[in-house]
Assembly symmetry: C4
Homo-oligomer: 376 residues x 4
Amino acid sequence: MRINRITRRVPVLAYLRAGGAFRLLQFAIVTAGLIAIAINTMPQQPESRLALLNVVLWGCLAFFIAEWVSVIVRVNSAGRLADYLKSGVWIIDALAVLPVPVALAFGAPKTGAWLLGVLWLLKLASVSPGIARLGRVIRVEAKPLLSVLVIFLMVLFFAAAALNQVEREAQPDTFGSLPSALWWAVVTLTTTGYGDAVPVTALGRIVGGMVMICGLGVFGLLTGILATGFVEDGRRHNFVQNWDLVKGVPFFRSLDPAGIIEISRMLRRLELPENTMVVHRGRQGDCMYFVASGEVEVEVEPDPIRLGPGAFFGEMALLGGGKRNADVTTTLPTTLLVLDLADFRTFTAHHPELAVEIEAQARKRDKSATGGGHHQ
Amino acid sequence: MRINRITRRVPVLAYLRAGGAFRLLQFAIVTAGLIAIAINTMPQQPESRLALLNVVLWGCLAFFIAEWVSVIVRVNSAGRLADYLKSGVWIIDALAVLPVPVALAFGAPKTGAWLLGVLWLLKLASVSPGIARLGRVIRVEAKPLLSVLVIFLMVLFFAAAALNQVEREAQPDTFGSLPSALWWAVVTLTTTGYGDAVPVTALGRIVGGMVMICGLGVFGLLTGILATGFVEDGRRHNFVQNWDLVKGVPFFRSLDPAGIIEISRMLRRLELPENTMVVHRGRQGDCMYFVASGEVEVEVEPDPIRLGPGAFFGEMALLGGGKRNADVTTTLPTTLLVLDLADFRTFTAHHPELAVEIEAQARKRDKSATGGGHHQ
Amino acid sequence: MRINRITRRVPVLAYLRAGGAFRLLQFAIVTAGLIAIAINTMPQQPESRLALLNVVLWGCLAFFIAEWVSVIVRVNSAGRLADYLKSGVWIIDALAVLPVPVALAFGAPKTGAWLLGVLWLLKLASVSPGIARLGRVIRVEAKPLLSVLVIFLMVLFFAAAALNQVEREAQPDTFGSLPSALWWAVVTLTTTGYGDAVPVTALGRIVGGMVMICGLGVFGLLTGILATGFVEDGRRHNFVQNWDLVKGVPFFRSLDPAGIIEISRMLRRLELPENTMVVHRGRQGDCMYFVASGEVEVEVEPDPIRLGPGAFFGEMALLGGGKRNADVTTTLPTTLLVLDLADFRTFTAHHPELAVEIEAQARKRDKSATGGGHHQ
Amino acid sequence: MRINRITRRVPVLAYLRAGGAFRLLQFAIVTAGLIAIAINTMPQQPESRLALLNVVLWGCLAFFIAEWVSVIVRVNSAGRLADYLKSGVWIIDALAVLPVPVALAFGAPKTGAWLLGVLWLLKLASVSPGIARLGRVIRVEAKPLLSVLVIFLMVLFFAAAALNQVEREAQPDTFGSLPSALWWAVVTLTTTGYGDAVPVTALGRIVGGMVMICGLGVFGLLTGILATGFVEDGRRHNFVQNWDLVKGVPFFRSLDPAGIIEISRMLRRLELPENTMVVHRGRQGDCMYFVASGEVEVEVEPDPIRLGPGAFFGEMALLGGGKRNADVTTTLPTTLLVLDLADFRTFTAHHPELAVEIEAQARKRDKSATGGGHHQ
């Protein structure tokens, strides 16, 4: 419980825990592996540390191989090996696991071979929904992204050609050929600015200044497209998942389709592992919760109450003084739908009949609470 | 009044004054303390300046300790010490105050010990609503932020591993080990570009260029997520606070729930200290004001009028020629709700009955003004 | 006309011309003055060039003084000198004009005195609506901007203190004191990365990497707040100006308030000088125009038609094949309201009665055109 | 088919293929030409490579000349030469083709003459819709962009003048004249930060830090304006194109104008070459498709079905278990309208009669499928 309290506040850990102990272990092993690979490339290590590194590296490799074999066995016994092979997921799994042993087997230098272990990061990618989302965004926004790329390339080549002509005589080493000038152009256009190639002539600097301003513009366009696409895709995805969950909550059954769409847009999903405190008694509360799956325990006197799928809680802080009046903890891995105060206000204004229902429920709870304890 | 006129134009000062004299003092002391700490670390100070620095530093420390003690005493006498300890705010308070005396007590070198005084900045953080908002945004957007982090790490490690292989022979010092290459990668991927590590081989530069472009992309994604989240959270929070205030303004009492939601979305809160001029006679006016709490004085002939909570003013500039026709000044710390001209147009189009009421009020004011003076 | 064709395509020139010849002249003189000031600071100029520079500089100064005097005379003769003095505009005017002669009079070195001529740029600012808008945005978004500033300062000071401790021994010159470390921190946090101060220890580099990532975050927040505020303010301002113009167009008179609000949001203002071609016969057309003020000439056979305020044109390309079928040129400085095809579709769907009217007008024009010529 | 599978996954290739083989060829030739130009500028090439380079360069030039001649001949034979000359497209075409032969004819140094071949990139620009879009955005957002430019220039000049005064004595070479200081200012304000000019005095660094923070602000404004404008223009353009396509789909004929506008906003266009697989049996499906033009083949047993313009497919994954139950491949170059699951939910809620129709169609297909095969 103590650990829960800590992990609950650190999003990374909460996220990992939501995936269960296995994901946490995988994350730890990838981290350990990467650190070992990094140290392994440093020169003049003492003998004893090299031995330890070897243990860690081989251990990580063994873990990933074992994991992959177990995946294949499980898939195969479910008769879905063909699907697995067709889906392309196996390519990522293989890319994460095979390169190191293959390189070692073919006699590559040891340090270089283990360096391929950075591909273990793909293990994290496969659990991250963001990579898939980024892929979708790039596919949907392919046209504008390509346009920005063409603009980027045009500025790049025109600037490089201009600087090559202008600065060639003053700095033959850094601007003497188009490839060198292109290196300067890309470093400048992305506003990285290493300073290894810098125009010194007046004309070169004027062109350079314009390239930097173009860089800001390209940056702005790219940001706009990626940001909008990413946010938009998230909203869409969120809506579809919420819609499915809302359909299963009895409380919303009286809503017409437009109402279901409205509430699906408002809700935010929260996936929690078991034994996580959702609501703290005495804290300020600015949202209410619907249980989509799993179970929570409301710690009221004399006996705690358990709420299962379809129930809601936390509404009393929105209707009353704003303070939570009971602790609420998950007892199972639970998916909650969160309705923020702002959206609660809007939703109850549009659907007064549901507002009445929530208030009735709150009054009932409050009355029963007067006899012994208070809840959220 | 003269000072008010000046501070009113400088948002920072107006903001500080809204929190009263104490916040202003706190801000000044943090600033003085930080400057003293900075000077304190510089070598070869004259004796006299060191003495002065000591006075300032010990003075700041004494102030923060005194403040903390007063907070604890106040909390304790209100019987809420347990709440204070449970809320975690005490951690921040302790972190701001204790490190310096503890370090001095344990005999750390004096300059280093006082350096911990940079934690006094936390005092500003605790008064800034933005830190809490940033926290909420990070919690709500945890998943996409984690995805971007994973993408960031993947690009980072893959680029570092590639450059380590490609540039190792040309520049063993800067790219010889994975950690050094990672340093290059993070400097490049964030487009910082110190220039202390720069690829020189053709292949290394091609990879480098791609890393920079990825940097733009990562930047774009991060900007999109943080910006959208921050703006969205502000909108939500604003709406909830306005909703509570609008409920208390009699003028809006006739509105149905949907109307209250609409106007709550349109309004902007403005918290002002006493004796601040809100409206200047003769200036262009593009908004009207509702008094949510506090009081304002409209300077009309023969006698100024005072308007309390629930009243509105500034509507005549929107209905008539666009010029304010009276000065309006706060007499108490006042919360105003601002309705911009654009939203005024929309709102009156949707609620003609309120438009009629505003116009009636304006006509009445104008008539009474003809007899002696004009007001806004 | 030839020049019109060219300037029409270059937004900067079109923008300047919309303000008339005077603004163009002012822009040219500011440009010439700045170039002269810049050259003036370069060492070892030939005598002849110095003489020329002197002529240009004194000429610019004389122009700005003459302009200011004429403004004051004009304002005074209109009896509004008090207003002018109260509005604060005179401060900017004085700041642009006075510093150079004052500095020269007080015997400041000549080059340095003329350097104050960079303040002539304020002349451009006073004509640019964007500065006022930026001011409004900063005022409205003061709270979130302050929050980001506090976050920025905290990262800055904490990073500088950490690096000061970590790198002090390795690089006493660049990280030995907190001010030097702060310089590193600000260069890094803004992702500028000069490379004059670079951490070399492992711990310093880890902190540095985190500072860079924080820099991306701060960047993202700032971009989000400023961008949203700027765009939002533009939309508001645009809406209010359009609303006023739409009220004056007879065609929209039949609309209810909600309809006026809808169309005011859709339209885009276009201010054109006289003799500017708006529509080119044979070009693809994707918008229609309403004349808000001024006059345009439709070049149809046998006689061109003139359309004044309240008329519309360009609708036939939207209804028919998409090609413009007449040239349209302004005969006076004209304000047009542009309705894009996308919004035209939406608007006519919501207001079928106006769609009918537009089609009737188009049919009438087409018929009359069959007898002699075609128009847009 | 195998190649199709690969190209379908790489957006760049899919995009190129959509334009047919010619665009692919053009892209390849531009790429080859640019590489040849880049290599051509490098010193000390072996004789044999120079000969090869010459072949490639002359080949590219010949291709572009031949292409241009063919365009002119085609345009002329269609009697539209006057239109072509008037439209200004010929300028771009000429700019891409003529500079190299003209420079060679006038006896310019060979390497420099061929460098003008970077203008061949304009060939890509003319096929990219993004350049036109960027042009529109810059025109529409001219005013705010100009405002940002003025702010940018003011910060630039004021910072340069300040640093020139402050750092002149410490670093006469880098800050001694205004032009040098301007170079520092532009490098800093764009956060490029080469590090070739760095303030060293305390005052200079304070000004420098403020310039960097202004740089973030300018960046934010620029990003906001460009990003919003670009995204907004894309939405508009998309809507208009979709509206035209939706009008041609019989299924939507029963919709009222508001419904057509709604669905036009929701759909996403997808242009595919022939023989491209749209839907993979067994994959997760989260959208349905309407055929706007072209033809697709649904691979069901016993005989595949062909669907032409106006038909829809993919709806069963949305109504049922989420899996595609047939492969669907294009047989002709096809334009599809994609309706995402999120929008499908919203749309069917608003238009229950169309939902019924889709379900009826799906039931019919499912029934016929039970007799032999399944489709999507």
